[in-house]
Amino acid sequence: MNNLQRYTKVFHEIFNLPEEQFDESFAFATVSEWDSIVHMSLVTALEEEFDIMFETEDILHYGSFENGKRILARHGVEIEAGEAA
């Protein structure tokens, strides 16, 4: 399983939504299920999956499925767009 598949799987497990829904528009501001409890679950699950530790700023500004990829890249986890194919 590549990093994009692992990343998408975490979102799927947290939100219980089909994987195709996780795209550029999937964001804290627009997804009603993404409340502070879900946010904490997501952050913890990503830390465990990729064996990293987010900074406070990362946690606060995670914000969206896409932005999360950039934050993960800063922790050495590269998620390429074409990986899933």
Partner: protein, 356 residues
């Protein structure tokens, strides 16, 4: 942050009372879904909460704690010249509930009585206010700082973010003069610009015609104007940025490090926030007692409750305590004090209530 240091008083006792009725998080699965509750429990740390009988008020719980405290310390009631009750769930609109408690506790007429309307930071604010009044009132021989909250009374049962989180409790702390006592420090901080972050919009006089009927709000949660609304994102941000920063600043300002304390009695907001605070301020996990798993977030009661829960059966140990509460207002309070573990009493369970 407003820093203060008080000499010549000691914390001579601390007691806590909770309702006997325990509600497990699984109970909420029918309303919010099994998987949601599993994640909720994992993140917040809450496994069960105590819920008061419908007739039992916050002051009933504070009264039970105060009676337990007065009996165990054997302090004469005429020595209590200040009674301060921290609550957001008073018995009546008028008068202040401290007067009801004065009557029930048989305290004398020279006792100053007042309520303080604060939630999760309330214990530290109460401690600070009581010590300030004691210092300026030479005739005061001792004080009772009581806290009590039944937060559930203004929570929408359809609000998945708060309804399973909050538990009910009451506490009592005794302050007595003691010239040999180590000083007690406090640091308070307030930010009224964020007063809407935790708010019950109606039920007082600003919005007297608020909608009683529960409807879906912009965040997708069904509540009325009389239910307490916590803006999760704002509170989350406050809790993982401002709070660790102020805790670090307070420690630096008083010239202490985590090594200088035996225990960190931190407001039990949720487990994730507790862990973040510990991580940022390098607080050792073995010095960070947790009670949210069995009692939930108990508002102003958190700090004394976690001490009674963990040290209620400990004797022969002097404790250097760091306390911190934070929440609505927004507000935050830090405190450092020393006390004997033998003066911290076990958590009492009771469903008793006052029939006036």
């Amino acid at each position: 942050m407003q820093l203060s240091r008080f000499e010549n008083f000691r914390i001579a006792g601390m007691a806590t009372a909770v309702p006997a009725n325990s509600v497990a998080v699984e109970h909420f699965a029918a309303q919010f879904g099994e998987e949601n509750m599993r994640k909720f429990s994992q993140m917040t740390g809450v496994r069960e909460v105590r819920r008061a009988h419908p007739a039992q008020t916050a002051s009933d719980l504070a009264f039970l704690a105060a009676e337990d405290l007065l009996a165990r310390t054997a302090v004469e009631r005429e020595r209590i010249s200040l009674l301060l009750f921290v609550t957001q769930k008073p018995d009546h609109r008028v008068p202040a509930t401290a007067y009801v408690l004065q009557k029930r506790l048989h305290l004398e007429s020279h006792c100053i009585c007042l309520d303080l309307n604060l939630a999760c930071s309330g214990y530290i604010y109460g401690l600070h206010t009581a010590l300030s009044l004691l210092h300026r009132s030479p005739g005061c021989a001792g004080a009772l700082v009581l806290t009590g909250d039944t937060s559930m009374r203004t929570l929408s049962p359809m609000d998945r973010t708060v309804f399973p989180l909050f538990g009910d409790a009451g506490t009592a702390t005794l302050l007595l003069p003691d010239e040999a006592a180590p000083s007690i420090g406090t640091g308070l901080w307030s930010d009224g610009s964020r007063f809407k972050s935790i708010i019950t919009p109606s039920g007082a006089y600003r919005n007297p015609d608020g909608e009683l009927e529960r409807r879906e709000w912009g965040d997708g949660i069904v509540r009325s104007d009389y239910d307490t609304h916590m803006k999760g994102k704002e509170i989350f941000e406050f809790s993982i940025t401002d709070v660790p920063a102020f805790v670090g600043r307070y420690l630096a300002d008083i010239g202490k490090t985590p090594d200088d304390f035996d225990t960190f009695a931190i407001h039990q907001a949720n487990l994730f926030i507790l862990k973040q605070l510990a991580r940022k301020n390098r607080l050792p996990s073995d010095k960070l007692p947790v009670s949210i798993d069995r009692f939930g977030n108990t508002s102003s009661n958190s700090v004394p409750l976690v001490l009674c829960d963990h040290f209620g059966s400990v004797v022969d140990r002097a404790l250097r305590v760091f306390g911190c509460g934070f929440g609505g207002g927004l507000s935050l309070g830090c405190a450092d004090f020393e006390m004997e573990a033998a003066q911290i009493f076990p958590v009492l369970e009771s469903d008793d209530f006052y029939q006036s």
